[in-house]
């Protein structure tokens, strides 16, 4: 027989338990139950956020220019005749590219020039103070890129013994038609500040010049193997445009300083095209037309042949031909005391110039970075008015 008191006891116990749970749930002072630890974190799902600053690439290049020849603007020769233009330049460069966030890129570039045997073209004929001249620049470019648009701002400073320069610039690019067409525009301003010299080599205070430059360009994909680019640039220069020590010989065996106009407008048109070749090579061609208010008209043609030898190696041969008329006031002799514009600078003379070059490039995948880049280039420049330059250059870089 069942005891009638037992069900009543069980029901009472159940009611007590339910009441206790309800009271605990309604009591605000009661401690909240500890949350369950998640089985995975946000980072497990979204991956680790990238650092704000990220090193993108580091590159160095060393170049040597060995120059020989003569020019009438140099005093390092017989009176009335051309003087030596012998010179050697060692040029190390460093470039660091850093990404900031998703859209901003910073490029810091430091080129250095060590010019030796500069005396034939400088004040060293009078004072041997700068037979070896060091020059360095610091240049910073910030580029913002989003979707199909990029905007850049560039600032730089150049410093050497008797010369300082500041430059700033802006550039914009906009891509159209699924990036088949890219239009670019930019402007640059350069301000130079340098020592002024008398004919005797005495320092005569300072002088300045400015350069204002505008550029517009168009790059177009023409086919899956062809790309072309056209560009126009205009530069307006004002101030002392001579370097302050170039001379013009006189028939009497004396000389006077060159005298150039105080302003110069310069137009340059450039067209380039690149075609991929079926045997894993490429050919590039370019033409440049130049005209300025000094009376110089120039044509420059250049062709490059590229050939890939292996996945990590390629070579390039290049040839360039340049021809220019002389400045209206170019002469190798001037009557003593002639107040007109005159220069004997071989760079402003009518001339033809050839450049022949070779370059080998190697790109290896490495553990430390995405790519280890190395290249070696040799070039020979020679022109009709007695100037020759041999160029040796090697580059090394890491792309992360």
């Amino acid at each position: 027989m069942i005891d009638p008191a037992r069900p009543r006891l069980a029901l009472a116990l159940l009611a007590a338990v339910l009441l206790a749970r309800t009271a605990a749930a309604e009591d605000p002072a009661a401690p909240a139950p500890a949350p369950r630890a998640p089985l995975f974190t946000d980072a497990d799902i979204l991956a680790k956020p990238p650092p704000l600053f990220r090193l993108d690439s580091v590159a160095v290049r060393y170049t040597r220019f060995d120059q020989s020849g003569t020019g009438y603007q140099s005093r390092a020769g017989k009176p009335g005749g051309p003087g030596s233009e012998e010179m050697r330049v060692d040029q190390p460069q460093l470039e660091v590219v850093i990404k900031q966030g998703a859209h901003l890129t910073h490029r810091v570039w430091i080129p250095v020039d060590v010019v030796t045997a500069a005396s034939p073209d400088a004040i060293d004929v009078v004072s041997t103070s700068s037979r070896r001249n060091e020059a360095a620049s610091v240049d910073w470019t910030a580029t913002y890129a989003k979707d199909h648009t990029t905007a850049s701002i560039r600032n730089g400073h150049h410093e050497e013994e008797n010369y300082r320069s500041w430059n700033t610039g802006l550039a914009l690019t906009q891509a159209f038609a699924e990036d088949n067409t890219v239009v670019s525009a930019g402007m640059n301003v350069v301000l130079d500040w340098f020592d002024r010299y008398l004919l005797s080599g005495t320092n005569d205070g300072h002088n300045a010049r400015s350069s204002l430059n505008f550029n517009a360009g168009l790059t177009q994909l023409l086919s899956p193997t062809t790309i072309a680019h056209v560009d126009y640039g205009y530069t307006q220069q004002e101030g002392q445009l001579s370097n302050g020590w170039n001379i013009v010989p006189t028939p009497q065996g004396a000389f006077q300083l060159e005298k150039l106009p105080g302003e110069r407008g310069r137009h340059a048109f450039v067209g380039r095209i690149a075609q991929h070749l079926p045997w894993n090579g490429a050919v590039h061609g370019s033409y440049r037309f130049y005209v300025d208010t000094f009376g110089i008209v120039a044509h420059t043609f250049e062709v490059e042949l590229h050939q890939r030898l292996a996945a990590f190696a390629r070579i390039r041969f290049n040839y360039r031909y340049h021809t220019q008329t002389g400045a209206d006031f170019f002469r190798t002799s001037i009557a003593l005391g002639d107040p007109g514009f005159a220069t004997a600078d071989s760079d402003l003379a009518p001339l033809h110039a050839h450049t022949i070059g070779f370059k080998g490039t190697f790109d290896f995948p490495v553990k430390l970075a995405r790519t280890l880049h190395a290249d070696l280039a040799v070039e020979r420049y020679f022109r009709s008015n007695d100037l020759r330059v041999s160029v040796y250059s090697c580059g090394l870089g890491l792309l992360f």
Partner: protein, 72 residues
């Protein structure tokens, strides 16, 4: 002068005339470093140094002409 203008117009016409769209999946050869129309910046500076300090007709395209040696 006439030859230069003719060549410039021809280049411009060729460029503008080629406005047929090349789809993204057919640009593999264009992405090859050999096809880059500009040198890497350090090499470009090396070339600029060679010409801008030795030819009175250098510069003016892409960068300001002038600066450095006054003979430019």
């Amino acid at each position: 002068m006439k030859i230069s203008i003719s060549i410039s117009i021809l280049l411009l016409a060729v460029t503008l005339g080629g406005c047929a769209v090349v789809p993204q999946n057919r640009r593999a050869r264009l992405a090859d470093p050999m096809m880059s129309l500009s040198d890497d910046p350090l090499e470009a500076h090396r070339k600029q140094k060679l010409y801008s300090t030795r030819e009175g007709a250098a510069g003016g395209d892409g960068v300001a002409a002038g600066g450095g040696c006054g003979c430019q």
